[in-house]
Symmetry: C2
Subunit: 263 residues, 2 copies
């Protein structure tokens, strides 16, 4: 199957324009599964709760989810994209999964990073896996990478591909995702954004780009630049992620010894 990332450069608060820019690019792409960044259409650096509430949307009824369903249908691809979700009294840092058949589901970020803790509720969805044609995909968002339990939980649920919408500002994640793929023998697609935000009197954030696709053997199949928008799709064989054999004597998941692990 053809899977990849769209490393974008959204303009803060310009949701419609950011959606249009993504949609306009998709018509020329042959792709089965595309991962977009965390907060793909809103931007990241919220300066207060009011702004968060204003830019958060219901899922799946809100316009962003509906727009994603629309272009997933039109271009016959599955899309994973981050957005601020409004649900009752809560806002969540969420990612939706949509496809040609419509809305598939939503993941709410488990491990909130830094000032996100001021504005968003800790995710209550848990880690989930969806069937998207030939592959089972699991979703984790940005800082979830820091906790190996995130990727492991998705692998134990049978994910073939980690879809990882991100807004990375720290340097370690691109290399760490090689370890995440390897230790779970699973594909990973990290979709990061580029550009800077320095809103209100907040210190500037520089997003580090380097979106990537990593194979279950820990090979970097594609890695984007640090500062330029980029849509990259690679051909992957999901069966590679289903073969958990490391060598004739070691089966990755079967050889776990949970009785010796602290949880």
């Amino acid at each position: 199957m053809k899977a990849g990332y769209f490393q974008t450069h959204p303009e803060f608060g310009e949701v419609n324009r950011n959606i249009e820019q993504v949609a306009a690019r998709l018509g020329s792409v042959d792709c089965d599964l595309l991962v977009l960044p965390e907060f793909a259409f809103t931007g990241y650096q919220f300066i207060g709760l009011e702004e968060v509430i204003e830019l958060s949307e219901r899922v799946p009824d809100g316009p962003t989810t509906q727009a994603c369903i629309e272009f997933a249908r039109r271009y016959r691809m599955h899309v994973v994209a981050g957005l601020p979700e409004k649900a009752g009294p809560h806002c969540y840092n969420s990612a939706i999964v949509v496809g040609p058949s419509g809305f598939l589901g939503c993941y709410r970020k488990t491990h909130l990073f830094c000032e996100e803790t001021l504005f968003f509720s800790p995710g209550d969805s848990g880690f989930k896996v969806w069937d998207v044609g030939p592959a089972r995909i699991g979703v984790m968002i940005c800082f979830d990478w820091y906790y190996p339990e995130s990727a492991r939980t998705l692998a134990l649920q049978g994910a073939d591909i980690l879809c990882h919408p991100s807004n990375l500002v720290l340097p370690h994640c691109p290399d760490a995702m090689v370890t995440r793929s390897l230790e779970n023998r699973i594909f990973s697609i990290t979709a990061n954004r580029v550009g800077q935000e320095a809103r209100g009197d907040k210190p500037p954030l520089t997003f580090i780009g380097k979106s990537e696709v990593v194979s279950p053997a820990g090979r970097i199949l594609a890695r984007a630049s640090a500062d330029t928008p980029e849509l990259t799709v690679v051909e992957i064989d999901v069966n590679e992620a289903r073969n958990k054999s490391i060598n004739p004597y070691n089966e990755l998941l079967k050889d776990r010894r949970p009785g010796h692990y602290c949880s």
Copy 2:
């Protein structure tokens, strides 16, 4: 405190000579904690069970443990070193912890790699932590790195330093240990060996060297070459590993959400 690795090049089966070579080098070293490789004095590539039984020793009564106690006393340092351990009907891939006060304990490798599964019993000790003066150390052996649960379990038990005797032949571990340190905010000391073994009619093994010390912030404080014996000691402040704050909003271990993890 001063902590480091001794990247060695043992000759297979020449236990006494390998011990003497290590001991001879220690007199000139100012060190509080030194990590030696997996199977530090026997070599790695056993060709049959008889050989394993012949080279395995009781712990702590066997000559290798006694020799390590002797040089730990003489040079007033703690030493972690791998050896094949004989215990009743079993042989284990083990690592001993010894210090100026004598024998402290033994860890038996939890995740056996490749043909080790033919000759050794899976470790039954579980992951353990020892106080060695200013630091608490945890021990894991070589392929244990592949399973993030190993380092996590030691961190949750309060380890400041992962002591990681290894005989690495695959390329990924040195970079992955940066992730292991970072995701646990813990020091790690990987002591690998160098050289080749091609015993009996077995395919040759090339050990990749690159022993290293990594800080809790994921900084490589020292990394050895791929092919040369090397003893390196660095000054570390264990308090760095006790500060689990990532930023003013995130505390690494407190922010775990075990209710959402599969174990």
